[in-house]
């Protein structure tokens, strides 16, 4: 994007230019990839493709691997490692990842390594993902890492192979969008509510073709983990990449992490990272603004992440929608969800509660859930309420703070780290017709199990729903 003065650049422009290996005539470009995170589901065929073609990874030290999508999360099934995985397909995938990493000398956090966890959690947590990097992974929520001031996006299996073999991605430059949220969030309003409110406003295709930068006071005040939650769901707004400019919060977060720059390189790195902000005067192709003060806790009622309303509202009426395609989409969603127009959100009763996923499984999320759960009990009508930490390190931290005890005492299950019920590739699934308050990122039909009905919410809202048995405005409990 050309800026008014021809010099000012957006954060995305800067990241793109810093990684441009070669612009091709057809408008595509070769972009250098600094960090490649690999998991068990989208990598086996990529490794096999490499072998069939007689190729080897271009730069092994750029790769970090971990199994997450279909590792079991129950303590018993997890106890005996890979061999103990009951589902044969899952077991073979995890075993194959181990074999491939061993064969090529790739650093892997194996199933019961404490550093294992969800790809988008372990990257920033270990310092493997840093500000200013290009980061890819074969999962569409890779934009999570954009919170660091990095260019991060998901890729498919053939691209995984391409990056393994060449360290580059063939890409086209996206357009620039700024989503600015000014003001201040109220108590009990979380980053998850912010991103759901953004998606409700711009729609699931609103960001298509754009790289979104999240700016404004709300993001300046937000913790790194909160920024990750927001960037994580950029894809649900249609954007492959979401990012937040570097500031002191970013740098403090990175400091001391295992793979962060060593002391000799630190000052130089920080000086560079501080340039990773959008210049004054840079122009965006599109700007969307929201007021942080007006955002309330959100609950999704339908089968698309844009079908979301504040908790105090009612399920919308399709009849009120002028657009016919949208209207029929809403009607279909209501039928699938077993809800009726006008029903109060707080009257939606739940069968299960899932707190976890790369959107909300970091320590701050667990703390938020535990704070609500402390001294309370999960409602009898809830069949299962589980908390699945995003990594072994999150789990250990939570246990050190005694949060696991608080949660277990309240009647939650405390699980081993993994993607779990986010996509139901392992045994953690919803039954047909069951309603689930979930802190994950997708409420598509069948995402959490055949016929399952997902409501996307924040960790605090999910914990409160578990205790009440239906949705409640968690702000009333936090006063």
């Amino acid at each position: 994007m050309a800026s008014k003065d021809g010099i000012s650049k957006t954060l995305y422009d800067k990241l793109w230019e810093a990684h441009l290996v070669k612009a091709r005539e057809d408008g595509s470009a070769l972009i250098y990839i600094d960090r490649h995170i690999v998991h068990e589901v989208t990598s086996p065929q990529a490794f096999e493709g490499l072998r069939l073609a007689g190729r080897t990874p271009w730069r092994v030290d750029s790769i970090v691997a971990t199994p997450d999508h279909n590792v079991p999360t129950s303590v018993t099934e997890r106890a005996s490692g890979v061999a103990g995985i009951e589902d044969p397909v899952s077991r073979i995938q995890v075993q194959t990842l181990d074999d491939n990493c061993d064969e090529f000398g790739i650093l892997e956090f194996k199933i019961n390594d404490q550093r294992q966890g969800i790809v988008h959690v372990i990257g920033p947590e270990s310092g493997a993902c840093l500000p200013g990097m290009t980061i890819v992974c074969g999962d569409s929520h890779t934009a999570t890492n954009g919170a660091l001031g990095a260019l991060a996006h998901g890729i498919g299996t053939s691209e995984v192979e391409h990056v393994l073999a060449t360290q580059c991605l063939v890409a086209k430059k996206m357009k620039n969008m700024l989503v600015r949220v000014d003001g201040k969030l109220g108590v009990g309003v979380t980053p998850k509510d912010v991103v759901l409110a953004i998606i409700a406003k711009i729609g699931t295709a609103g960001g298509t073709g754009y790289a979104i930068e999240f700016g404004g006071q709300v993001f300046r005040d937000m913790s790194m983990e909160g920024r990750m939650t927001v960037c994580n769901m950029a894809i649900e707004a249609g954007a492959r990449a979401g990012m937040v400019a570097v500031d002191d919060i970013t740098i403090d977060y990175v400091k001391g992490r295992t793979f962060a720059p060593n002391e000799a390189q630190w000052d130089e790195a920080v000086a560079y990272w501080k340039t990773l902000v959008t210049d004054e005067g840079a122009e965006f192709d599109q700007v969307v603004t929201l007021s942080g003060d007006e955002i309330e806790p959100q609950v999704s009622w339908g089968t698309s992440p844009e079908m979301v309303v504040p908790v105090g509202d009612t399920v919308p009426n399709p009849e009120g929608e002028a657009d016919t395609t949208k209207r029929s989409g809403m009607a279909r969603a209501l039928a699938y969800m077993g809800l009726s127009a006008g029903q109060k959100i707080t009257d939606i009763h739940l069968d299960r509660v899932f707190i976890g996923s790369c959107t909300n499984s970091r320590i701050e999320d667990i703390r938020a859930a535990a704070e609500v759960a402390r001294g309370r009990k999960v409602a009898d009508s809830i069949k299962e309420a589980m908390v699945v930490p995003g990594s072994g390190i999150v789990k250990a931290q939570a246990e050190a703070e005694g949060l696991d005890k608080v949660l277990v005492e309240a009647g939650f299950e405390w699980r081993e780290p993994g993607c779990s019920m986010c996509l139901a590739m392992n045994a953690d699934k919803l039954g047909n017709g069951e309603h689930c308050a979930s802190t994950s990122n997708r409420n598509f039909e069948g995402r959490q199990g055949y016929g399952g009905r997902t409501h996307l919410v924040s960790p605090a809202m999910a914990a409160a729903a578990a205790i009440a048995g239906h949705f409640v405005d968690v702000r009333q409990w936090l006063k």
Partner: protein, 217 residues
């Protein structure tokens, strides 16, 4: 990727329109961790009389005697004659993988689904579009002549019958170049290997912390 230049091979028929990717390789085989070995399950539901399982040895399964690929005369076919909209359905690359693994190098049809068409080129398979009338004649010749073969010359963009009838076809120049030289997307990028190395050297000097951090841990 295998280069495709010239091919003289046995032809087999898939005489129906809208053959989708599920028909080419049914969904339950997609959980595999491999991209090879799908050939034995190509057209699984049509080829066998029982329900196939992933990783199963197919040699003892009851075959459907009415399905042409099971006819002795079409064994070792490398060229598939097909009808409209071949390859519609999913975007996964398993369909070309299965065709390739079975031994096909070329599919001739009046039209193809877009994504499948693209995926063929990425996997060393040549999809050729010919007019429906040409397909009608080719199917006829195939049914009339046991051991029917075709000669395909990608450089000349021709399909030639044993009787000397020549059909010409269109193909994008760039895709043709890649296929003739066996260049997949990765091969193409690797032609820029020097530019990638230069970039790395430059960045190593500017931002050294991007390299090697994970190697020692």
């Amino acid at each position: 990727m295998k280069a495709f230049t010239q091919l003289s091979g046995i032809v087999a028929p898939m005489d129906r329109a809208n053959v989708d990717t599920d028909m080419i390789i049914p969904k339950n085989f997609l959980k595999s961790i491999k991209r090879s070995g799908f050939g034995k399950n190509l057209f699984d539901e049509l080829r066998y009389l029982d329900e196939g399982q992933p990783d199963q040895d197919c040699s003892g399964r009851p075959i459907n005697p009415e399905f042409p690929l099971n006819f002795p005369r079409y064994q070792n076919a490398q060229i598939l004659l097909a009808r409209e909209n071949f390859g519609c359905g999913s975007s996964r690359e398993h369909a070309p993988w299965a065709l390739d693994d079975y031994g096909f190098r070329c599919v001739i049809a009046p039209s193809f689904a877009d994504i499948f068409y693209n995926n063929c080129f990425k996997n060393g398979l040549l999809p050729i579009e010919l007019p429906s009338s040409a397909l009608d004649s080719l199917f006829q010749a195939l049914y009339d002549n046991e051991g029917f073969t075709l000669n395909i010359d990608l450089a000349a963009q021709t399909v030639t019958t044993p009787a000397g009838q020549v059909y010409t076809f269109e193909v994008d120049e760039f895709r043709k170049h890649c296929l003739l030289n066996g260049l997949d997307d990765i091969g193409l990028t690797l032609q820029e290997a020097d530019a990638i190395r230069e970039y790395e050297e430059r960045v190593k000097a500017q931002r050294p912390w991007l390299f090697g951090a994970t190697a020692s841990k």
